[in-house]
């Protein structure tokens, strides 16, 4: 028993203390959180825009008078559908590599490219979430807004979208948790995220157990913590349900 414990301690010192290797994990963790946070925000912005275009087209196409507005909206809807199909139909690692090696081939800012790639990816999933939230808002809300004299865009901005976002807020927070784990493939494009940080240590020490288990534990602790936070948020939203 004692022997086993001593071995573990030696492993720990080798992997994290020697040469200050723990710094790889800290750098990785910071990058993981940076990428996740930026991606989730970008995803919400893209997702909201796509959701508005898609639901506007779905709900109004047959009632709109023909004209430039209708054509423009139709084109927008088609572009959104292509975006959703492509993003949801290809693996995120491939999208990430296309971003890094093709679209931004001249950029060496891996973290920035990863933020963008995961944001664009997340946007597609968030879009359908928010679209569901918009469609779930009672039709009377739109009518009340329009009857006061708000145009369609103003009604969306002041009345529909705030309610839709509030309704899907727990799901959006969950998207953050999903992204936290999904960004672990960022190492593919030379970004030192948490996973890559652990892997770098493994490469230096030729000892896999300690760095990988610790990386896994850090993810687990964060996910459990954020899940608890989302649960709290959900309960608070429900109790203040106006």
């Amino acid at each position: 028993m004692n022997e086993w414990f001593a071995k573990l301690q030696a492993e720990f010192i080798l992997n994290f203390v020697e040469d200050n290797r723990w710094k790889y994990l800290v750098t990785g963790l910071v990058n993981t959180l940076k990428i996740t946070l930026a991606a989730v925000l970008l995803g919400i912005v893209i997702g909201t825009l796509v959701a508005i275009i898609r639901s506007t087209w779905d709900q109004n196409a047959d009632r709109m008078r023909p004209g430039a507005g209708k054509t423009l909206l139709h084109i927008g809807d088609i572009i959104c559908k292509i975006y959703l199909t492509v993003i949801r139909g290809t693996p995120v690692v491939v999208q990430l590599m296309i971003m890094f090696y093709i679209i931004f081939a001249t950029s060496r800012n891996g973290v920035g490219v990863a933020m963008l790639a995961f944001g664009v990816n997340s946007g597609a999933y968030v879009a359908e979430l928010i679209r569901g939230g918009i469609m779930a808002i009672d039709k009377g809300q739109l009518e009340a807004g329009r009857s006061l004299g708000f145009d369609y865009v103003q009604t969306m901005r002041f009345i529909i979208v705030p309610q839709a976002l509030k309704n899907v807020l727990p799901a959006l927070a969950n998207e953050f948790i999903v992204l936290l784990k999904e960004t672990s493939v960022a190492g593919y494009v030379a970004v030192t995220d948490l996973t890559k940080g652990g892997d770098i240590i493994r490469g230096r020490t030729f000892s896999a157990f300690m760095p990988l288990i610790v990386v896994a534990l850090i993810y687990l602790v964060m996910v459990v913590f954020f899940t608890w936070l989302v649960g709290k948020l959900e309960r608070r939203l429900r109790s203040s349900d106006h």
């Binding site: 009377g140 807004g145 009857s147 006061l148 106006h242």
Partner: protein, 253 residues
């Protein structure tokens, strides 16, 4: 009552396409309705359900797009494609059966957002007007409550003053008491009666025959998408001419 025409409706048509099974079938919700609403007048629209009375009301501010006919509001053809309906809707307040208050805003915010955004009133000015209006319907103390904290009758009174906060020229009521518990109908009708007394032009679709008889200047009776009879409450309720109206009154009175 003056004779100035505020809303002139000519041969209004609204056809819906049939369901998926029978696409060719057309449902004629409105089948050539012509009517005039004068300034300061209270017009009550009655009729059996499915008669098109709600569709008629919702066409007046184009929440429902008519498929034919013309609506002149203040002399402007609002069915014209180039007409900016949003500007006209600011002058046409509407009250719905299901209140449609904005649940994510306080009562005060519900009432100030449109005047602030659309009429560019300052926050202070909009809130002052809102509080005055809330006082008129006895709800000044609920200004900071959320709609979910109010009873149905209170919600509908707020919905009425929310529309009034835009200082409209006409108020449209779409069955404002139909979703209310019976004991709350009175408080809403009372507010509407007050409003009528203050000289507001009102078009009211309702099943409240007592209100129609007491408050209306003119009653329109609709059935099958047509305007079958119109007249003073006395003419409609005491001396109904058409058989459909006699039938209808026999059932509801």
């Amino acid at each position: 009552m003056t004779t100035d025409v505020l809303i002139q409706v000519t041969d209004l048509q609204k056809h819906f396409k049939g369901g998926k099974q029978n696409q060719d079938e057309k449902i004629r919700a409105l089948d050539g309705v012509s009517a005039e609403i004068h300034k300061g007048e209270v017009v009550v629209v009655i009729g059996p359900s499915g008669s098109g009375k709600s569709t008629f009301l919702r066409c007046l501010n184009l929440l429902e797009l008519p498929t034919g006919g013309q609506i002149l509001f203040d002399g402007v053809d609002i069915t014209d494609k180039n007409c900016n309906i949003n500007l006209h809707r600011q002058k046409m307040g509407m009250v719905f059966q299901h209140f449609n208050l904005f649940p994510h805003m306080t009562i005060l915010k519900n009432m100030t957002i449109a005047p602030m955004q659309l009429l560019h009133k300052s926050k202070e000015e909009a809130e002052k007007t809102a509080l005055e209006l809330l006082g008129r319907v006895g709800l000044a103390d609920r200004a900071n409550a959320y709609p979910s904290q109010l009873s149905g009758g209170q919600k509908q009174r707020v919905a009425i003053v929310r529309a009034l906060a835009m200082q409209p020229e006409v108020m449209l009521f779409d069955e404002p008491t139909s979703a209310l518990d019976p004991e709350m109908v009175g408080e809403v009708l009372e507010v509407m009666q007050e409003l009528a007394k203050s000289g507001m032009t009102m078009v009211v679709v309702t099943h409240e025959m007592g209100f129609a008889r007491e408050v209306a200047d003119r009653v329109l009776f609709m059935a099958d998408g047509k305007l079958l009879e119109e007249g003073t409450p006395d003419e409609i309720f005491t001396h109904p001419k058409s058989e459909r109206l006699q039938d209808f009154l026999a059932k509801v009175l």
